[in-house]
Amino acid sequence: MGWNEFLTLWCGVFGAMALLGFGRSLAGVTRGQRMVRVMGRIERVREPRHDGSLSDGIPVVVSFRDPSTGQEFTVTNDGDCGDLVTTAWTGREIGVRYPPGRPHAFKFADDLQDGRRGLGWPSFAVFLVYVGLVVLAAIDWGWPWALLGVGGPLAVAIACALPRDARHRRRHLDRLASVAPVQGRVIAVVKNVQTNEDGDTFVSRSPVVAFTTHEGTAVLAYCDSGLLDPANSRGRDVTIHYAPDDPGVFTPDLAAERRTRRTDLTCSVVVLLVAVAAVVVGAVMV
């Protein structure tokens, strides 16, 4: 079997899988579409233990109501239960999803709409078909087609996303600076310890900050960035800038947030320029 036949088979198989997936989505029978999605409420928040497991999340007690039976359930984030709870305060709404009739198999979800149409795998199959077509074109018509095939969509995607991201980040910074900061404190540092086959140990740490908003909401949250020497930050007082409409959006270092915004923007522009250059070179060489 030559490369052409293999790539044709590749595109055919993944194309068929994509069609099947889109068909199932249209018929409304994908797993994501059948999932029950409800909003739960955090009833109780506890402080995580210092040096405890990072992957356990902030201990919370959540209640939600099953819409089909009307029954109220009270659960905790014990073990594998979906997205990690990294920001919590009493009264916060949190997404909960579960297969129909099985509320005990609940998972927490940061974004309740995520995966609602069940198009993740079909879209990935389309991407693989596209990769196959680009490789096929590069083999049959020459490598410049690979530059066009990769650079073209990448340039379009970044060009479309860049203004939106820029607006989003500007709004994000405006929200953080819209109210006076509050004092917070690092109450614990949680960590994950992993050991590879050679016996090398890798430790990832995340400080946990506690702060109370001007509205009186007591927030506990992982703080992955903006703190120097996070491993030894327990007990440190920090100044928290937060978004008044969502205390989960916060930073202990507004200046660093601005620098990050500029760096991200620069990176996006560089990638856009590289993609455009690839398209130009490809078009000239074809």
């Binding site: 405890g52 356990d56 201990p59 009270t74 659960v75 073990g79 297969p99 009739g101």
Partner: protein, 363 residues
């Protein structure tokens, strides 16, 4: 206290046995297909060996979906438990595996003992002490699959704080039912049958391959027939005769040597060895200064007479084996005929023309 016995084995059924047999069969077929595919150089067979376990796994996954869905639909049961003993069994950082022995006290059933392992974070380990009360969760139909609930709901937390449990006796231990020896036997049977099926299907190619297999050198060729077989490599050649034949038969030796040298550049031999049904010639490598001779120059027509002379005149009355060795190690071509019998070994030596020059009777 009622003793809780192990749940009846859920997989000691004919269906489970059939599934085990099928798994063994697929394993045997896969292994045999891969090996036989390489031996007989059959790409489709080799690919079958690769694809078969994948297809079987996929089918098994699909077939198991209803069962998994049924199991998942059953809500796990929550209960209080008391730690009888615990022991960390490895690791010293992060989550470490801990072996627990618990008494589990379900609300609607008798208490039972269970042993299991669970990873516990090092900083949480002091919370677990013998006699401590925990909240656990398990599937109702598999009470041995206990998991500690590290973060119970407030209701269960309050119950655990106020609870006092009695230890269940050791006889009340619940554990996963063992599969038993029948499953091992059935799996082995499936494995053997699967492998045998592939070997039987490809027996013709396999046995052809074996008969004509090259011994070591990549430049070796081989020919087979019902009466004799010839194996040749760059530096040696061997001719074997079938049953009922002998190299002492008229013209047989000359034919055999001709078959080894035919169609090639003139070859020099280092040694020629002849037995009743086996002829071996070791050829001289090109450019190597070794005592050598033209194998075609040997007086093959004289050799049967020399063997007969050695068998009858050297004191070996009932010779069992004989061997002719021709070489030029002494500087000139020497033919040595040795016979072995009850009396021992005797030999005679002849020159390149087949004239006897020395006799060594049996001692």
């Amino acid at each position: 206290m009622t003793i809780v016995t192990s749940a009846p084995p859920t997989h000691s059924t004919p269906v489970a046995l059939a599934r085990t047999f099928l798994a063994g069969g697929v394993s045997g077929t896969t292994l045999a297909a891969l090996v036989v595919g390489v031996v007989v150089e059959s790409v489709p067979l080799f690919v079958t060996g690769l694809v078969l376990p994948v297809v079987y796994g996929l089918l098994r996954f699909l077939a198991g979906r209803p069962r998994r869905a049924r199991e998942a639909a059953v809500a796990p049961r929550t209960a209080l438990a008391m730690i009888e003993s615990l022991k960390a069994v490895g690791g010293d950082t992060g989550d470490i595996p801990v072996k627990f022995d618990l008494t589990v006290a379900p609300d609607d059933a008798s208490a039972y003992r269970v042993e299991f392992r669970q990873n516990i974070n090092l900083v949480d380990l002091p919370d677990y002490r013998p006699g401590g009360i925990l909240v656990v969760r398990y599937p109702p139909d598999q009470p041995w699959r206990v998991k500690i609930v590290k973060r119970p709901t407030p209701e269960w937390e309050d119950r655990a704080a106020a609870a006092h449990l009695d230890s269940a006796p050791g006889q009340a231990t619940v554990s996963e039912p063992p599969e038993g020896g029948a499953f091992d036997l059935v799996a082995l049977l499936g494995l053997l049958l699967g492998a045998a099926a592939v070997v039987l299907l490809f027996r013709v190619e396999l046995f052809e391959q074996e008969t004509t297999a090259a011994p070591s050198s990549s430049s070796t060729t081989s020919v087979s027939s019902t009466s004799s077989s010839t194996v040749e490599s760059a530096l040696s050649g061997t001719v074997s005769l079938g049953p009922g034949q002998s190299f002492l038969d008229d013209g047989e030796l000359r034919r055999a040597v001709n078959s080894l040298t035919a169609g090639k550049d003139p070859l020099q031999a280092i040694t020629v060895v002849v037995q009743e049904r086996l002829l071996s010639v070791v050829f001289s490598p090109a450019g190597v200064p070794a005592p050598q001779f033209d194998p075609l120059s040997l007086p093959y027509e004289r050799l049967p007479a020399l063997v007969k002379e050695a068998r009858t005149t050297l004191g070996v009355h009932a010779p069992q084996t004989w061997q002719i060795t021709a070489d030029g190690l002494t500087g000139s071509l020497t033919i040595k005929v040795g016979v072995t019998g009850a009396e021992g070994t005797a030999s005679l030596e002849a020159d390149g023309q087949g004239q006897v020059v020395r006799r060594t009777p049996a001692r």
